[in-house]
């Protein structure tokens, strides 16, 4: 597997798109930090990038990369290599590449300009989100043979997790506004990794406002070490489950 990872990394790091991604992230993070007098404001603007751009680029880049390396994967399958080794190797390679891009483009500026606990939570959330959307991209890629359809599925997944899900959630809240919804919302937010990532950052960034509105319920849950570890564990599941399903499909896929 290490060799596969090595060749995937070699391939991606020669790719100009990854470099462009790092530069885009660097420009936005440096821009936002330097434009704003307040570091907190820079971080809160960067949160939008974190929650929208990172998932989008991660899922699209991975899907396109998967289909572009279809030949490579075919070549590997004819070799005495397990399919799971091949897929996990490619996953790890892509994951490491995008994670490196995120850490260079956003992680490093955040540490330099912010360096607070909020910043570290920010980096943790972004890293997990990157790996989750790489994982989802693999799922989208193995369930179809067609590149265009694969990209379409990926876009839909991204759109669903970043916007549609929250829209539905808001409507559900309105519909059941007579009931106490805090606990239900905590549960529902676990079903969307983007919400989880956001909440992890919010816990540090906007805890005062959250306290004002939802009282202790929210903080007691997510503020505790238990809640934070639970949120991180659920996000790890969000990495593991899609790639495991993808693996199952890929094992019996006809190439």
């Amino acid at each position: 597997m290490n060799k596969i990872i090595k060749y995937v990394l070699h391939d991606i790091f020669r790719n100009r798109i990854l470099l462009a991604y790092v530069i885009l992230l660097l420009l936005s993070s440096l821009g936002l930090f330097m434009m704003n007098e307040d570091v907190t404001k820079g971080l809160s603007s960067l949160l939008t990038v974190l929650l929208i751009v990172i998932p989008l680029v991660s899922i699209l880049f991975t899907t396109i990369y998967f289909f572009n390396s279809y030949e490579f994967i075919e070549l590997l399958v004819a070799q005495p290599l397990k399919r799971s080794t091949i897929l996990l190797g490619v996953y790890t390679g892509v994951g490491i590449s995008l994670l490196t891009a995120f850490l260079l483009g956003i992680g490093l500026p955040v540490v330099i300009f912010d360096g607070t606990v909020t910043g570290w939570y920010f980096i943790l959330s972004g890293s997990l989100l990157t790996l989750i959307f790489v994982s989802l991209a693999f799922l989208a890629s193995v369930i179809t043979r067609d590149k265009t359809r694969g990209i379409g599925i990926s876009m839909m997944l991204w759109f669903y997790f970043t916007l549609v899900y929250d829209g539905i959630l808001l409507m559900v809240m309105f519909a059941f506004s007579d009931y106490p919804l805090e606990k239900v919302t905590i549960f529902l937010s676990c079903l969307n990794p983007v919400d989880l990532a956001r909440i992890l950052v919010l816990l540090k960034m906007d805890i005062s406002a959250l306290m004002g509105y939802t009282g202790a319920v929210f903080n007691q849950f997510f503020g505790s070490l238990f809640g934070i570890s639970l949120a991180v564990s659920v996000m790890l599941l969000w990495i593991a489950i899609p790639i495991l399903i993808a693996l199952r499909i890929f094992k019996t896929k006809n190439l």
């Binding site: 808001l170 309105f174 406002a209 306290m211 004002g212």
Partner: protein, 428 residues
């Protein structure tokens, strides 16, 4: 020429006589006071081994110096106008019985003591220093430890409470207030530090007082708590990390300037809670990292000028029953929400504030934004009706709602805006 010279000479002589007489008189007065005021020294193993004994002997105007030692004291009543001065901080230990010192006479000074372990009672308020119906009292540079109430003033006027440190160590249920004023007026409260009490400074019917340069932190309930206490000034105090922040109620003609309200956070916690306050002035203060910077209820005709609101959950929460309040030249930066309200009609006035969330432009370069700023965001209006929607804070969804509102201000139903938002941070 000659005539004028004579007049000048005459005037000179008269003036010097008057001056000399005055000086003599003044000297005599000082001398006579000095000669009658005695000094009694309290020291274990001497004639005056207890303060009580010294008090019995003392007359009005005497000074009692208490040397360093530990004295067991319970309900020690000072009923003469004397100065009780601790040398090298002697300890007055109440052994958890009752009040420690009680002042019943005017013109009393208490300074330089460590006063600890008053009684705790749910029925009667026990205090480290209890002053009743006295005036012209001075309580200076004492350290009060583990007292139920620290310094308790009832029906007292004209006094100074300065440089004291009050540290409560009991539990939230048992503890009383650090500095407690009831039906008192013209009291200066300066440079004290209060922590671990129920309320740091508590005023009820306390008027014409000056409260300045005090530090109230880590108290269980409010750092400062007052009601029915008109015409007081609060200057340059720091209220930090108190259970519920600062609460002021049912009062008018208050001036609060240069205070810091910091890190008061919790589910019902406020930097400054204003309830039925009117005709008052809040300026040059800093509200940072509070759940609500200012929470206003039924408060009218307030001038809120030149304050800084940093990193609060809600910088200002103004209920619909507030009227004719003015917010000018304040900075709003890094708050999750700048302004929230529960109503749609609004009769308040915002002008020239700096809002970091303002995205308008300034084409004529006069440092004033060309389009008004609406600080009550559409998303915050949704949360107002649906508190659990706060879970979607900073999501793409809430971002879109707020952007939509900026494009179509008519979507917002709250009629509150800053007509001249400042393009740059306001420096005092």
């Amino acid at each position: 020429m000659l005539r004028s010279k004579v007049i000048f000479r005459f005037t000179y002589i008269t003036t010097s006589i008057i001056l000399n007489t005055c000086f003599l008189l003044f000297f005599l007065i000082v001398l006579s006071t000095k000669s009658t005021a005695r000094e009694i020294v309290v020291k274990p193993g001497t004639q005056y081994s207890t303060i009580k004994k010294a008090l019995e002997e003392a007359e009005n105007g005497d000074i009692i110096r208490v040397l360093k030692s530990t004295y067991i004291v319970e309900d020690l009543t000072i009923d003469k106008s004397i100065s009780l001065i601790g040398v090298d901080f002697p300890v007055l230990d109440g052994r958890h019985k009752s009040n420690i010192l009680i002042v019943n006479a005017p013109k009393v000074t208490i300074s330089g003591f460590i006063i600890r372990n008053s009684g705790f009672s749910n029925i009667k308020d026990k205090a480290g220093i209890r002053v009743e119906k006295a005036d012209t009292i001075q309580i200076l540079n004492n350290r009060l430890e583990n007292t139920c109430f620290g310094i308790y003033l009832a029906k007292t006027s004209t006094g100074t409470i300065k440089g004291n440190t009050i540290i409560g160590t009991s539990t939230a249920i048992q503890s009383g207030n650090g500095i407690h004023l009831w039906y008192s007026h013209h009291i200066n409260i300066i440079n004290n530090k209060v922590s671990g009490q129920r309320d740091g400074i508590y005023f009820e019917f306390a008027t014409y007082c000056e409260v300045s340069h005090n530090l109230c932190e880590n108290n269980y309930r409010y750092g400062l708590h007052f009601m029915f206490s008109n015409n007081d000034n609060y200057t340059a105090n720091i209220f930090r990390n108190n259970g519920s922040g600062v609460a002021v109620m049912y009062t008018k003609h208050i001036r609060m300037t240069g205070n810091t309200f910091d890190q008061n956070w919790g589910s019902s916690s406020y930097g400054l809670l204003l309830k039925d306050i009117s005709k008052s002035h809040i300026s040059n203060s800093t509200f940072s990292k509070n759940t609500s910077g200012i929470y206003m209820e039924g408060s009218n005709e307030l001038m809120i000028i030149n304050n800084n609101f940093f990193n609060n959950g809600l910088a200002v929460r103004m209920l619909a029953n507030c009227e004719k309040d003015t917010f000018m030249l304040n900075n709003f930066r890094g708050n999750t929400f700048d302004f929230t309200t529960n109503g749609s009609e609004n009769n308040n006035f915002l002008k020239g504030n700096y809002w970091d969330k303002y995205t308008g432009y300034d084409l004529n370069r006069d440092k004033i934004g060309d389009v008004p700023f609406r600080p009550v965001s559409l998303y915050s209006q949704i949360i107002e009706r649906l508190p659990s929607a706060v879970f979607l804070l900073r999501s793409f969804m809430s971002e879109l709602l707020d952007r939509a509102e900026r494009a179509l201000p008519s979507m917002s139903y709250v009629n509150l805006y800053d007509s001249e938002p400042s393009m740059q941070i306001i420096r005092p």
